[in-house]
Each structure stands twice: as structure tokens, then as C-alpha cells.
Symmetry: C2
Subunit: 177 residues, 2 copies
């Protein structure tokens, strides 16, 4: 039931359509929870059946109609009670580490190339996070309550990506010399 929580969290941030949500899941919430548009549409139907969200049909000229979803008070209560229930650390699923674990059956050049490839991806993600930090949180001493929480999640991304980069560099060195 975790996709539902991510959707409710996104809708709590701002009411929007399934299509908008799908785009949000490519940024913001999507940085720590990924989902395709099909999953989102399916989940929205269930959430509406459970009265956690309300849909308002918006008729548009020259564009397909859309449904704007809003959290109901029941949905908000449900989100809050989930947040208040302690959880364990989310399990990892990481391809790169599986590859490196079995790395000895390939050549070290292959593994080093893959590490460099991942280093480039992490560097790009770090740059994305840093530019969001500069653009949406230029003044860290003046954060609203909502902003402070968003900023904390951004800091996590920046810290973790920085750590990945350091580890990639260290591992490449260990394998090249």
C-alpha cells in the first residue's frame, strides 16, 4: 500500500490530475518513489472508491477533459496516521551492487566502465538536486513549515548522491591500480 501513500503525499502538496501526477513522479516525489502513469491511474480509481480522494471533472476546449483529484479529510487522516506509524528502513534493490558482488566473473575493465557510467549518472542527479536547491530554496533561513520538510528530502538526495560519487571514485581506484 505504499504507492497510495506516495500519491496522497503528492496530492496533499497540490491537487492535480493523473497526468500531472505522472509528471510529478518524474521529479519531486519521484526522486524517492517511482511509478508509471498506468500504476497511478489504477491507484487513483481505488483511492476514489475508498473516499480518500475526490475527483472534479474539468471540461476543456481544444484539449481532453481532465479530472482534478483532491485529498478528502478522510484521505488526509489516513495519510497522517500512516506517517505516525513507525516504519522500518526501506529495503534496497540495487543492480550495480549485485553486478559488483559477482564482478570477478567479468573483466575488471567491464566493472570499471560500469562504475564510471554510474558515476556520470550520479553526478547528473547531484547537479539536478543542487540546481533545485539554488532555485527553490535560495534563502535557507526563511523556510516555511512545508518548505522545510521538502528541503530536508532534498538534502538527503544531495548527501546520498555525493556519497555515491565518492564511493565510485574510490572503487575505480581500487580496481585500476
Amino acid at each position: 500500500m505504499a504507492l497510495s501513500h506516495a500519491i496522497l503525499a503528492a496530492l496533499n502538496d497540490c491537487a492535480c490530475s493523473g497526468y500531472d501526477l505522472a509528471k510529478k513522479f518524474d521529479g519531486s516525489v519521484g526522486f524517492f518513489w517511482n511509478a508509471t502513469h498506468q500504476q497511478i491511474y489504477r491507484e487513483l480509481i481505488k483511492l476514489e472508491e475508498q473516499s480518500y480522494i475526490d475527483a472534479q471533472l474539468i471540461h476543456q476546449e481544444h484539449r481532453p477533459d481532465k479530472k482534478i483529484y483532491t485529498l478528502t479529510s478522510k484521505g488526509e487522516e489516513y495519510l497522517r496516521s500512516w506517517i505516525e506509524t513507525p516504519s522500518t528502513v526501506s529495503p534496497l534493490k540495487d543492480d550495480l551492487l549485485v553486478k559488483i558482488f559477482a564482478g570477478s566473473i567479468a573483466s575488471s575493465e567491464t566493472i570499471v566502465a560500469e562504475l564510471k557510467h554510474h558515476r556520470a549518472q550520479h553526478l547528473e542527479t547531484l547537479h539536478t538536486y543542487q540546481s533545485i536547491a539554488a532555485q527553490v530554496f535560495p534563502d535557507r533561513s526563511q523556510l516555511s513549515n512545508v518548505e522545510r520538510y521538502h528541503y530536508i528530502t532534498l538534502r538527503q538526495g544531495i548527501g546520498i548522491e555525493t556519497e555515491w560519487l565518492a564511493w565510485c571514485a574510490e572503487s575505480i581506484e581500487l580496481l585500476e591500480f
Copy 2:
């Protein structure tokens, strides 16, 4: 098809039964790929059908019989070719970050308590990794090829857990004062 790779990687490390694999997925490979025993048994059947692994039935007195699975050369080739195919960074799925993203609908005490709870879990994991490092890799200048790769994955765990701890501490401070 990623569980299959994790199983092949585990079997490449050492031939074992489904039951042993399930235990391995609570440590070693399990640190970066989790799976239940039901998933493992189901996947083993498929891998055997595809001739990526071979089963040898071991009859035991006073204990249920068991099947020891070994990688075939076809399975090894398949694992190697997967490792040689570049992959993108694995997507995240993290409950805590979703909770914090929507943190403003709960009290800051709730969020701080959850951060402390997670900090304790990360500290425990870090200790686990550090004791493995001390016990299985006491002399880092004398690593075999296989050990070097395992050591690199352990270093990742140590680095990431350390970063999580730093982030938890920083976030708690931001919310408490």
C-alpha cells in the same frame, strides 16, 4: 528479471539449496537485494527449466532432503553477459522520504521521533557492516579478486549508512531548533 541475476550471483559465490539461499538473502547479497523464500523457490524452478542452474538431490538422514543448486556454464555466461550490459542507476523507493515530504501534516515531534527511530536502525546496520569488515577483511592489502569485489560492496554499505546517519542528525537538529 533481476531476482534471477541476484540468485545467479549468490550461486556463483557458492552452490547451495533454496533454504540456504533464503538465508543468504538476509545477509551478503541480501544487503542490496531482498527476497522471500517463496520468491526464491519459484525463481529456482524457472532457472532450472532454462538450464541456467543444475540441481543435485542430497538425501539426508533425520533431516528433509535438499537440492543443491549449481551454476551451469550457460548460467555463468548469462550472468556475465548481464554484468557486461550497462545499466542505469536503480530507482529508489523510500518510505521515510515520502513521510517527510508530507511531514507538515503531522507534528514535528512525530517526524523527529521517526528520524530518531531510523537513525537507530542505520546505526545498527553500520555496526553490522563494520563488524563484517573487521572479521572477514582484516587485512585489506591482501585481498583476492573475489574478496576485492565483495569488499567494494561492503564499503558502499558503510559509506551510505554513515551518510544516512549524518543526514538524520542534521534533520533532527533542523526540526528541533
